[in-house]
């Protein structure tokens, strides 16, 4: 029977854990979560956002803003009967990003309200909505349990998680009255080699454990007046069971080398729970509780033998993404119709010069018509009138009047008022050229050169116009016009009866010159826009691209591929991700044994890439593989307005992962058969699961009441594995119904799980005294001399538990 489940991640660690859980679920089931599960993530750091799988993200983000903390404090003092845990205004103002490692700030964030929203209300709404969703997945689903289970996860080292984790337990109890179980899964810092510099982390964790222990005792009630008006006086502890894990192993094996390894194990644990082990665990935990074998605190050990199909997929997808990004940012060559060609600047220049002549012609043609009036016809008529003497005044003055800038009812005024249509033609056509170049070559340098060379053509044209005496200044135009008008009346060719044709031609020439004079400003603006980016010019549909746009794109994409090292710390990049995957694969401190059909990760990646190349129809990557038929410039522009690097990274990675997956480039691998062939190595891995992720000064004796089982995709194969183990005299995992869990879709991995309990962290954690010391004493030599012993301790406390 599926259990409606809500998993709440608190703080950045909570988010990473949820991301891992979501990812494990996607790898197994090709969806991010089952319908009876909801992921919620509560964060005080505005810049943190969930990273999804290739099919997107299903983690609901609840941002609890810490803006205007002083006002929030003032309001809570009034509305919540001045709770004694509230931090002082001067303390919170120095907190920095997120909750700034101050526990009461994290708590304040959840309780407070500011112009960005009602944080407490938002959290309640998110949980209420999640509750409604998981309970109403399918009204006809008789397999759906009536009571939901909630997991709350996060680390207790920062301000947010350690601040709100107790409130969160009680808040869930308040919202979901019929909750079956409320579990906590909290990450603790590992046994310190050096505590210097990490005092906040250890102090916060100690404070959190101390507060939790306080509320776990029956004699202590949770008494608070919440901002939503409810006054709470609760006897029950916040969680049925809190599981602590850290990077350490109980047996003293080398600790998990990275925090991301710990998030992975926490994510694997949550994934296994929503995939099906929760019910099995609960059966055993009920028995264990009845026999006083679990208590309020637990921990667990996990190990796995895995064919890392997902990592291979991501690695290959990252490589493919890099190849595509290299194509986009190749400064020397481009592909056209599958053929690699050198970028010939001279040829682009030549083509663009011809192209610009065409654009100029089109733009000038649009100026010949104003409100359906053909100005050329009108000028011809005027020429005839001049020759027939049907005008007032001298022909020279009449001609000047036709084109002078000083009147607002002549051709000059009409064209000037219509100059925007010429601008539209210029911008639209230039954009079109750049767009065509981008679409056909998928090369940013090529498109940039096209733009640059069009601008060069414009500059050459302007320089020519200048040389014939034209400028954008009206006074200069009027002077030129007078000379031209006088020229019109000389040598009229009347003797050969061509005076009409000649005058028409001369007036048309003046008209063309006037268009040039009026277009100079427009063309200068175009150059300024493209080269300097100082002016914003838009055509009828698009803004004219800028050289800076291409330069920035190239710079960012190069950083994304790792070609240049211009990323900010912590920013995402394919090169970095490739290193991370390699690091993760080669990390022997993780209790996961990676196995391959070819015995090598790199060979598997090469094989997968080769298969992709064959099945996708060639070894030249195209951006259509990522954005399909979307316009490249529009896509990049849209991404520029958002978080460019992250969005491009995710789009590319998701697209290639989906294709690698769809084209079935990586075959599944039967782990059970591997275990049968390499039993000794597999036993070493299975044994790691019996050592939990926590250093406790207590010997955990195995108990049949506590969950300990092997998870795989086929019960018979698990039996074969256990038989192989038994044949090697390894009997930690019993071959019983309780010792096996079949999850039919769980391919490429066999997991060994062992749960422990019945300890008190505040006394049994092997390094609790060091943590207490970090909690109690101000570290020496702090730069901020204002931090007194009392303030230090206050920052490490968030609940009134003394």
């Amino acid at each position: 029977m599926a259990t409606p489940t809500i998993i709440i991640g608190i703080g950045t660690s909570g988010l990473y854990t949820l991301e891992n859980a979501q990812r494990f679920y996607y790898e197994t089931y090709k969806t991010n979560k089952p319908k009876n599960v909801e992921f919620i993530y509560i964060e005080t750091n505005e810049s943190n956002r969930p990273v999804g799988t290739p099919i997107g993200n299903d983690i609901t983000r609840v941002y609890i803003s810490l803006d205007n903390m002083a006002e929030m404090i003032a309001e809570l003092k009034t509305s919540c009967n001045n709770p004694s845990w509230l931090p002082e205004s001067r303390v919170v103002l120095a907190a920095g990003l997120g909750a700034g490692g101050i526990r009461s700030c994290g708590r304040l964030a959840m309780w407070g309200r500011n112009q960005k929203g009602d944080n407490f209300g938002n959290v309640i709404n998110a949980i209420t909505n999640a509750y409604a969703k998981v309970m109403h997945v399918n009204n006809n689903d008789t397999n759906l349990a009536a009571q939901p289970t909630v997991f709350v996860t996060g680390s207790l080292t920062g301000g947010t998680g350690a601040g709100v984790f107790i409130d969160m337990g009680y808040l869930v109890r308040h919202i979901i009255k019929n909750a079956k179980d409320i579990y906590g899964l909290f990450l603790l810092p590992q046994e310190p080699k050096v505590i210097r510099g990490f005092e906040v982390m250890y102090g916060n964790a100690y404070g959190a454990i101390k507060d939790l222990e306080h509320y776990n005792k029956v004699e202590n009630n949770y008494k608070e007046k919440w901002p939503n008006g409810f006054t709470k006086d609760l006897e029950a502890p916040p969680y049925e069971l809190v599981q602590f894990i850290s990077q350490d192993y109980q047996d003293g094996a080398p600790a998990i080398s990275t925090l991301s390894g710990l998030y992975k194990m926490a994510g694997l644990y949550l994934f296994l729970n929503i995939a099906g082990i929760y019910e099995k665990r609960r059966e055993r935990l009920v028995d264990a509780a009845g026999n006083s074998l679990i208590g309020k605190y637990g921990t667990f050990g996990l190990s796995a033998i895995q064919f890392p199909k997902d990592q291979i997929q991501e690695f290959v997808s990252s490589q493919l993404s890099i190849e595509l990004l290299h194509r986009l940012t190749d400064s020397a060559e481009y592909y056209l119709n599958g053929q690699k060609r050198p970028i010939s600047r001279a040829s682009i220049k030549q083509n663009m010069a011809v192209m610009f002549d065409g654009i100029l012609e089109s733009a000038f043609a649009t100026l010949n018509t104003v409100e359906a009036r053909d100005l050329l016809v009108s000028i011809d008529k005027d020429a005839t009138r001049i020759n027939k003497g049907e005008i007032k005044g001298s022909p020279v003055e009449f001609i000047i009047g036709m084109f002078t800038s000083t009147r607002n009812d002549n051709y000059h005024a009409m064209v000037n008022n219509n100059i925007k249509s010429a601008l539209n033609v210029f911008v639209d056509n230039i954009y079109q050229q750049v767009d065509n170049a981008m679409q056909s070559t998928e090369n940013l340098y090529y498109a940039k050169y096209v733009l640059e060379d069009i601008v060069e053509s414009i500059e050459r044209t302007l320089s020519y116009w200048k040389s014939i005496g034209l400028s954008s200044q009206t006074q200069n135009w009027d002077n030129e016009l007078r000379k031209l008008a006088i020229g019109c009346t000389k040598n009229t060719y009347k003797s050969v009866f061509e005076h009409d044709a000649v005058l028409k031609d001369r007036l048309n020439t003046i008209f063309e010159l006037m268009k040039m004079h009026l277009s100079i400003r427009v063309l200068i603006d175009i150059c300024k826009h493209v080269r300097e980016g100082k002016i914003k010019l838009e055509g009828s549909n698009h803004e004219l691209p800028k050289l800076q746009f291409f330069d920035e794109l190239i710079k960012k994409l190069n950083a994304l591929t790792g070609r240049t090292d211009e990323l900010e710390n912590g920013s995402i990049s394919f090169a970095r991700r490739l290193n991370d995957i390699k690091g993760d694969i080669n990390d022997t401190t993780l209790p996961i044994l990676r196995v391959y059909p070819s015995n090598s990760f790199s060979k598997e990646c090469e094989k997968a890439k080769e298969t992709y190349t064959q099945r996708s129809g060639g070894n030249v990557r195209s951006i259509t593989e990522v954005i399909q038929q979307q316009n490249i410039l529009n896509y990049l522009k849209q991404k520029q307005s958002g978080k460019f690097n992250e969005e491009i990274y995710l789009d590319f990675l998701k697209a290639f992962r989906l294709k690698v997956d769809t084209l079935n480039c990586i075959e599944d691998f039967n782990i059970a058969s591997y275990i049968r062939n390499s039993t000794e190595e597999s036993i070493r891995t299975a044994r790691k699961a019996t050592s939990p992720f926590l250093k406790i000064n207590r010997v955990f004796t195995p108990s049949p009441y506590l969950p300990r089982f092997v998870v795989g995709d086929d019960s018979n194969e698990i039996t074969d594995v256990l038989t192989a183990f038994r044949n090697q005299n390894y009997n930690d995992f019993p071959d019983t119904i309780d010792g096996k869990k079949e999850l039919t879709d769980l391919k490429n991995i066999v997991v060994f799980y062992d749960e422990k309990g019945n300890y008190i962290p505040i006394t049994d954690l092997s390094y609790i005294n060091l943590m207490k010391d970090a909690y109690t004493n101000v570290p020496s030599g702090l730069a901020d001399e204002n931090i007194t012993s009392e303030r230090w301790k206050n920052n490490r406390s968030a609940y009134t538990t003394n």
């Binding site: 040389s467 014939i468 031209l484 040598n491 060719y493 003797s495 050969v496 009866f497 061509e498 044709a501 000649v502 028409k504 031609d505 001369r506 048309n508 020439t509 010159l513």
Partner: protein, 127 residues
């Protein structure tokens, strides 16, 4: 003066001046007629750059007239016979000074007009 077109003998200064004026008038008239005809025949469809076209037509007119004039010179020499052309005699040149004037004048006129056309259509010209 009986035959102003085919007489190559120098008689008097007055006769020579009359002949020069007559030739200039006739040449002018012929040039005009040819020019008028050619303006109606050449570049009719091209309405742009009209003035340049007309100037170009004028060069063609001079060229056409030059051909006609050469035909006339040939006939002139043919009728007078090759023995009557005393190339070493200065008086002979006085007799054909009219034809020489027109001949050299036409060439000079052609190049002058060509130069002015070139000026109009050069790089810095608005035409």
């Amino acid at each position: 003066m009986e035959n102003i077109f085919f007489d190559t003998n120098y008689t008097s200064l007055t006769d020579m001046l009359i002949k020069v004026i007559a030739f200039l008038l006739i040449s002018g008239l012929l040039l005009f007629v040819i020019y008028l005809m050619l303006t109606k025949l050449l570049f009719r469809k091209n309405k742009h750059r009209k003035e340049i076209n007309l100037r170009l037509v004028f060069l063609w007119t001079i060229f056409a007239y030059f051909i006609l004039f050469n035909v006339y010179i040939f006939v002139l020499f043919y009728r007078n016979g090759i023995d009557s052309l005393h190339w070493t005699n200065a008086k002979f040149y006085l007799g054909i000074i009219v034809q020489l004037t027109i001949y050299i004048g036409l060439l000079a006129y052609f190049f002058i007009k060509r130069l002015s056309l070139k000026k109009i259509i050069n790089e810095k010209s608005i035409n």
